[in-house]
Amino acid sequence: MTPTVRRVAVVGGNRIPFARSNGPYAHASNSDMLAAALDGLIERYNLQGETLGEVVAGAVLKHPRDRDLTREVVLGSKLAPETPAYDVQQACGTGLETTIAVANKIALGQIDAGIAGGVDTTSDAPLALNDDLREVLLDANRIPDTAGRLKLLTRLRPGMIKPAIPANQEPRTGLSMGEHCAIMASEWGITREAQDELTIRSHNALAAAYDKGFQDDLITPYLGLERDQNLRPGSTPEKLAKLKPVFGGPEGTMTAANSTPLSDGASVVLLASEEWAKARNLPILAYITEAQTAAIDHVHKREGLLMAPAYAMPTMLDRAGITLQDFDIYEIHEAFAAQVLCTLAAWEDPVFCKERLGRSAPLGSIDTEKLNINGGSLAAGHPFAATGGRIVAGLAKELSERGSGRGVISICAAAGQGVVAILESAGGSK
């Protein structure tokens, strides 16, 4: 039997304001934050007691005790306890990847509605036992007699007290994501000025979105925070120019301002078939019509770590039969201002498009007036797995308000991966 493919509606989204690391959410766990975002969504769309097809979410930095994090959060929520759930982890791609996972099951008719999301805390980080200490303790556990165990304990050393802290580091290169991005910025010739300009735009756009009430039905205040803590509108190029580079050495162009800070937060998105939404009198903000994930070899082929979205995009465009210019809104995740600018430069570059993408002509440039129009991660902050949900919900709402048009999402992820997706306005079916 060939399944019929159904249109997948974005009904709405919800998130808690994003906080800076060790800020207001310092003592909130991933479960706490995901639950807060989910509760707000349930309340907004009257999902109390509903048995949904599934809830899919994930966290990049996750405690070992958070086995089945999402399922446990569902059990603690007002959704019916019969709602299944599972966790996904694909670094910063998590939030969009969960959206695609839920959307695909809806499209195939396997489920009618579901929630996708993500959460991350860099404050309540999972510290692990020092590997040497862990080995001694595990060995001790394997020895049956007390004398033998005591003898083993002589292997203990003071240095073993030091815990293993999760590092923002690529295992195969030893470089942090920022250092990787600094190499990309250099290889693509991205200037400090261009990065700072994008940063200022991002903050001003997000502040304007808050001011006009755009975020009102996208956010549930949490622990005293009503707006994203990182938001700093009204900065100037002169002020940003004073900051010292944090990546790429003394000649580097990347600063604490034009890179996203470590953040805490959670986001969720409600997806459904048209029938399911209409039956419950819920809005349809937009449809998810295409998605693509790609990965690059940053280890052996010297490709930039965060360049995978540049590869995912043309594959998706070809399948959709459209060009890069056929969008009204571009949502490119601002992990670093340089990442966005490298991606745009790559799509404009004849060498990259021919040699790496195997295309006869560049994808071309985009109208940057259409880029991250309600602010991006530089302003909002970037709790890794929560970013995808923030962008999907915000883009769907913008398309709904316009009543027409098409938007594209591009998110880079650690380990050389990237996820892109297309959302189309639901037009009059709102």
Binding site: A185, E187, G189, G249, G252, D349, P350, V351, K354
Partner: protein, 466 residues
Amino acid sequence: MSQDLYTQIVNSPPGGFIAKRVGLPQPTALDRYAPGQPVVKGQVLVGAAPGGRLSSSIAAVLGEAKIDTATTLAPELRTAAADAGLDASVFNPEAGGDRRFKGLVFDATGIKDSAELVELQRFFHPSVRKVQSSGRVLVLGTPPEDTKDPREHTAQRALEGFTRSLGKEIGKGATAQLVYVAPGAEDLIGSTLRFFLSPKSAYVSGQVARVTPGQPVPADIDWERPLAGKTALVTGASRGIGEAIIETLARDGASVVGLDIPQLGEDLKKVTDRLDGEAIELDITSDDAPKVLAAHFKAGVDIVVHNAGVTRDRTLAKMPEDRWQSVLDINLSSEERINDALLKGKRIPSGGRIIGVSSMAGIAGNRGQTNYATSKAGVIGMVESMAPVVAERGITINAVAPGFIETQMTAAMPIAVREPGRRLNSMNQGGLPIDVAETIAWYASSASGGLNGNVVRVCGQMLLGA
């Protein structure tokens, strides 16, 4: 012959420490080529003055040679790289990052007026500090004589002052050259770019080469063995520079024939046996030498390297005629007679190469060497006069002019003469016979049909005769 002792000492940690403290010259251990190596070990940055005509030719060469390349953001360079299949990264000096380059290549053909020479400053100022040890700087221009506008002629001629000065200040064993590419010769720059970018040109700096229209590069060229199927004659091949030349031509695929005087027959045979070559014992000044050679090469000889040469030093006041005459006859007149015989007998086919060995003495002059310097300046004259003549037959003629090369001859010099000779150049050291040989192999290459009438010095940019 390897590096001189002093260079070895200052390149050891304690020796380098002392040399730095005492302020002694610190010659860099120069990169040298070994078969199987990539053309360039490192990244080459390409820039261009707006409106240049060589972007696509440069990109094609770098792409074919699989050279790791970066370009400036100039759209014509990005397009040229894409068209050439060259996966080049971008370099923007304002974008930071710890970038290092093994070579800088700049297409200056777009410079039509002296006011536009500032393009040199704009490209090299931010990039020159990023050049690695044994790095390479190449500026490509239009031969002034081939320009139509006086302003353009002036500006293109000005390039020479730039490369010669940069060669003297860049240091770390890096070299700088100017390559004039005549209109119509754009497709012939491959062998020259490869030579000047590679460690093969270790001891060549501050030079000007001209690439002019000539025979096309063979489509099936094997860059590891560009002389495959060719026969090469090298005179004075039993030892020293001659031995290095014949070895290098054999390495590049040529069937080699070594020639030397009968007294050195045994040494010669050792060399040619090792290379699977032939040995000819012959005094090139003898009356029948041209006839003997023409008879020997009935099937033709593709490459003729006139390397044999002698010195008989004396100040002119003490110079008897025989001492004068033997040097002139061995170093110059016999070469002319042999060329004439081989050309007249049609022994050198189309695609052939005649290569002379001049000397720094022939350019700058040298006390006690009026005879030698006259003969070596004459070799330059021979190249100049014969270039248009042989060109009609698809043959080229060029010469090298070695400076201080580490040989048995220079090792025997008194230290007061030897040390200044060795150090008074941009590399602060003497060259090796292989450096001369590699330059000759560059002329000899089947891909070098665009080189005719060149005299390139292999002198580490000696301060004399500049």
